[in-house]
């Protein structure tokens, strides 16, 4: 029964990925039509990392949708993301409720509306560690760290690229399936995180201001 659910969900997931790709290729097509970027540029991993690492500070608005297999519609939230090299990551959610998550080195602090906060070490929560570290290494452009933990697959060109990360370790694979990052030049546009149980999260990064 459970297995059946998973398969049907897997199908749904594929549909969504195709959707995302289609959407983005359409966007790229638009760009070309408008003549914003006439020459296509090739891209390889080291180049991408170098360009990503160039940005020492980032700040952007995000919209997040969590698709849970037991829900018939996604859970939505939005807010602001901040990053400062080398290890500071902040996620402020403004809707549906206020929340602030700060990742500093190995520690995560989550505080709520009443400013009640709890701090814990990433080591104690492997699923969170997989996700947050993956994001952090990408933002840092740290190819060595990324290849240590993930199999990487880069597609596209500098105007529109997608990077798929699949965890290497078996224990990580038990929790997460992969995550997919879409971007344009040194900007990240969308992060999709797929969990092994079939749940997945799509985070769209709206506007990146430096």
């Amino acid at each position: 029964m459970k297995k059946e659910l998973n398969t049907s969900f897997y199908a749904l997931r594929i549909v969504i990925f195709i959707g995302i790709f289609f959407f983005h290729s359409a966007e790229a097509f638009d760009d070309n039509l408008l003549g914003r970027s006439n020459q296509t540029c090739t891209l390889d991993l080291p180049e991408l990392m170098v360009s990503l690492a160039g940005k020492k500070e980032r700040s952007a608005q995000f919209k997040e949708e969590k698709f849970l297999k037991i829900l018939n519609k996604p859970l939505r939230s939005e807010g602001i993301l901040r990053f400062r090299a080398p290890d500071y990551l902040e996620k402020i959610t403004t809707k549906p409720k206020k929340e602030r998550l700060v990742l500093k080195s190995e520690f995560v602090t989550i505080s709520d509306q009443q400013d009640k906060s709890q701090t814990f070490s990433l080591d104690d929560y492997p699923p969170l560690k997989e996700l947050l570290n993956g994001i952090r290494f990408i933002l840092l452009g740290n190819l060595d760290a990324l290849t240590e933990y993930y199999d990487l697959d880069l597609k596209g060109n500098c105007n529109q690229w997608s990077l798929i990360l699949i965890p290497i370790s078996a224990s990580a694979l038990e929790i997460m399936d992969r995550f997919i990052i879409l971007g344009r030049e040194e900007n990240i546009q969308k992060i999709t995180w797929v969990e092994s149980n079939g749940d997945f999260t799509i985070m769209t990064i709206e506007k990146e201001s430096s």
Binding site: I70, N72, T93, K97, F107, I110, F120, D124
Partner: protein, 773 residues
């Protein structure tokens, strides 16, 4: 037997003893042997904790002196290195992560374990509320843990259990390992493998830690500190050993100097040592044969007490006349010497009948040692000595104001009366009742220990509440009722937290009750159908949940058996154990607690099954009772001494002449110690035993009835050499920085000196005819 046969026979015996020691001797270092037998429930519990409790084998390692990253790396590599060593039961530098097995166990038994399970939790309204709240949290980041269990555990029992088990804030961590708040110290906690409280195993573990650390830390900037009972016990033994070695080297040199001054012969000095060495050798092998092993404490104290045997050859050598064979001199002094040895040895026989293993060993050692030394002095030593050293004859000593002392009996009685009056008034100050005062651990170390314990959030060790019962379930049920009281106190904010076994292993009764609170499957389905209204759940979202509740209703209730192999077992072992036919459960507290509050909370329960334990106070009571029992046996010993002397000397007056000076000096030593604000401990008692042994010899020699004047001067010579060497040895010990050694040193120095002085007052008048040479 011919002298030569005797010597050969003796060498044979020594050889056998030597072989026994080489092949059989094992020095026992488990202090438990010297722990008194317990009577009250508090004491039983405490002793068991001390012997088997994990707390007493906990060693905390602190690293400091580098940036946090270096410390964390070092902490990790050290943990990795030590983890697989059999000297340790466990080594941790962060919370043991919950293994999948344990997690599954807790998850599938959550309805038995959850402290917050109520029937209303499964009502449509309550479920609706919980589900919508959980979805809100999952939408944010904070619900990341709940998300995993939402479909199977929508009422959130699993998370609620985990939360209640880790309600106290987690320890501060940096780079994933335990750190102090200021980030300057990295902490590791290890539990040493040891049967009982075994110092050798502790020392071995500490060496392993030191060596591994040195291997890992090459640039010497990081320093490692260890605190905890094993570290302290080993450090104290080490400091006593170091102190004792250093001081005994000094003392030996001084004594050799003194003996040379009196006898002008190196050979003789070595001959003096033979009886004592033989005594030690035979005693050790006897103890090994009888008990299987010898305890370190027996060895140390035993050698101190039979130290009196060094006097036997000194008496012999001092009494030798010109051109006299030592055997003839021996024949003359033997009756006196024999009586002295016999009296002292018989004094210890009473202890053999005590039921303290430690005292029995000590008494056996002493009796064996004294008798051996005396026999060697009598039968072997004169023949080895021969005429070899007698070119130099001991001088006569007549300068001492002996005559004057002998006339001052009256003053002595007044003095003694004064001492007794003083002691009667000061009797409440007599004993040291806080054994911690005798601890050689520097206060700086103890302060570090306290600080680290606080930072590590280890349970408060000042008070525990103990629940005792005849079966596992009765103790669990009683613990539950007691825990309810403390939960109420916690809710009122009177205590900051507590831990009890029933958190992890509820009584069967409680588990059955919890299962009863679960709704019927049909009811649950209906409730869920209503609860889902207005929420984005799919039709069959909670199939898993319904299945789990139905399983739980049929599940087997938990007993300690089923917890084997899970992380819970370790938690439970600290709080719950069986000793013979009794079960004990322990409630520990976080932060500071008030004794009165605990007493009030437990007052409604029968006092012999639920009681408050103050380990420090109880251990003091325990040690003090041990001392009192030991004192009782010393009393019996003294009575035996009196009777022996009565039989041998035939007159009560003669007994008085021997014993009054000794009693006088024992009382005076006590008075001096009290005046110097040094209350008496067990160590002083052991030292007084030696003083009594010395005193009996002094007094007997000075009371020899038909003594001639020339003989008297030789006796004086002997006594002065004996006394001077004793005072030198123990005077050196009195300068020790270790409280135990200092106690022994001061007691013996003052006691030995006073014994000689007072014995002189009571000495018999020598005959005036000088018919010698």
């Amino acid at each position: 037997m011919k002298p030569r046969t005797k010597i050969i026979f003796w060498i044979g015996i020594l050889f056998i003893a030597f072989l026994i020691i080489i092949f059989r001797a094992r020095v026992e270092t488990d202090i438990s042997l010297f722990l008194p037998q317990s009577s009250s429930p508090q004491e039983q519990f405490l002793i068991n904790q001390f012997r088997h409790g994990p707390g007493s084998k906990l060693l905390i390692i602190s690293l400091q002196g580098a940036d946090s990253k270096t410390l964390a790396r070092l902490s990790n590599s050290l943990t990795l290195k030590l983890k697989n060593d059999s000297a340790f039961i466990k080594v941790l530098n962060s919370e043991a992560s919950v293994t999948d097995q344990t997690e599954n166990f807790i998850f599938s038994n959550r309805y038995l374990l959850s402290p917050t399970l109520y029937r209303e939790d499964f009502s449509p309204q309550s479920l609706h509320y919980t589900l919508s709240e959980t979805l809100d949290r999952i939408a944010l980041s904070r619900g990341f843990l709940e998300k995993r269990y939402l479909d199977r555990d929508p009422s959130g029992e699993f998370i609620s259990i985990l939360r209640s088990w880790t309600e106290t804030p987690l320890l501060n961590k940096k780079h994933g390992v335990w750190f102090s708040m200021d980030g300057k110290h990295a902490f590791l906690v290890s539990e040493i493998f040891s049967e009982g409280f075994n110092l050798n195993q502790f020392e071995n573990a500490i060496h392993i830690i030191d060596d591994s650390f040195k291997e890992l830390e090459q640039n010497n900037s990081v320093s490692l500190h260890m605190v905890g009972p094993p570290a302290f016990a080993v450090a104290s033994r080490e400091s006593i050993r170091r102190d004792a070695t250093r001081l005994s080297i000094i003392a030996t040199c001084l004594v050799i100097g003194i003996l040379y001054l009196f006898f002008r012969s190196i050979t003789l000095i070595f001959l003096c040592l033979i009886p004592l060495l033989c005594g030690v050798l035979i005693s050790i092998s006897a103890i090994v044969l009888i008990f299987g092993s010898i305890h370190g404490i027996t060895l140390a104290f035993g050698i101190v007490i039979i130290g009196v045997a060094i006097d036997y050859p000194l008496h012999l050598f001092s009494h030798i006349k010109v051109n006299e064979h030592p055997s003839d001199a021996m024949d003359r002094i033997w009756p006196t010497l024999r009586l002295g040895v016999l009296t002292t040895a018989l004094g210890f026989v009473s202890m053999i009948f005590s039921n303290f293993d430690g005292l029995i060993q000590l008494a056996t050692f002493t009796v064996c040692g004294l008798v051996t030394a005396a026999l060697v002095t009598r039968h072997i030593l004169p023949h080895i000595t021969g005429f070899s050293f007698l070119e130099y004859l001991p001088p006569r000593i007549e300068v001492l104001p002996v005559e004057f002392l002998m006339k001052s009996k009256f003053i002595f009685y007044i003095f003694l009366a004064g001492i007794i009056t003083f002691l009667v008034f000061q009797r409440s100050e007599l004993w040291e009742n806080d054994i911690a005062q005798l601890s050689p651990v520097p206060s700086l170390q103890l302060a570090l220990d306290r600080q680290i314990r606080q930072e590590l959030n280890l349970p408060n060790v000042s008070y525990w509440v103990i629940v005792k019962g005849k079966s596992e379930q009765s103790v669990l049920r009683l613990t539950e009722s007691v825990a309810e009281k403390f939960q109420a106190l916690k809710n009122q904010g009177e205590i900051s937290g507590f831990d009890a076994v029933t958190k992890y292993l509820p009584s069967l009764e409680k588990q059955a009750k919890r299962i009863e609170t679960l709704p019927s499957i049909d009811q649950l389905k209906e409730n869920l159908r209503i609860a889902k209204k207005g929420l984005p759940f799919r039709e069959n979202a909670f199939e898993g949940f319904i299945q789990e509740v139905s399983n739980a209703k049929k599940s087997k209730l938990l007993t300690s058996e089923q917890l084997r192999g899970t992380l819970l077992e370790a938690r439970i072992n600290k709080l719950f154990y069986r000793q013979e036919n009794l079960w004990f459960s322990l409630i520990t507290f976080k932060g500071s607690v008030d004794e009165k509050l605990l007493a009030r909370a437990t007052s409604s329960f029968p006092s012999n099954s639920v009681f408050v334990l103050e380990p420090r106070k109880t251990s003091n009571i325990l040690i003090n009772r041990y001392r009192d029992r030991a004192l009782l046996f010393f009393g019996w010993g003294f009575l035996i001494i009196v009777l022996t002397l009565r039989v041998a000397l035939r007159q009560w007056v003669a007994v008085g002449r021997v014993l009054i000076p000794i009693l006088g000096s024992v009382l005076t030593v006590t008075a001096v110690l009290i005046t110097a604000k040094i209350p008496l401990s067990l160590f002083h008692l052991v030292s007084l035993l030696l003083v009594i042994g010395l005193g009996i010899d002094y007094a007997l020699f000075l009371n020899h009835k038909l003594i001639l004047k020339q003989e008297r001067s030789k006796t004086l010579h002997a006594l002065i050499v004996c006394n001077l060497s004793t005072v030198t040895v123990f005077g050196t010990l009195a300068f020790s920085t270790t409280p135990v050694l200092r106690a022994i040193g001061t007691t013996v120095v003052i006691g030995a000196f006073l014994c000689l002085l007072f014995s002189l007052i009571f000495a018999s008048k020598p005959k005036m005819i000088d018919n010698s040479v």
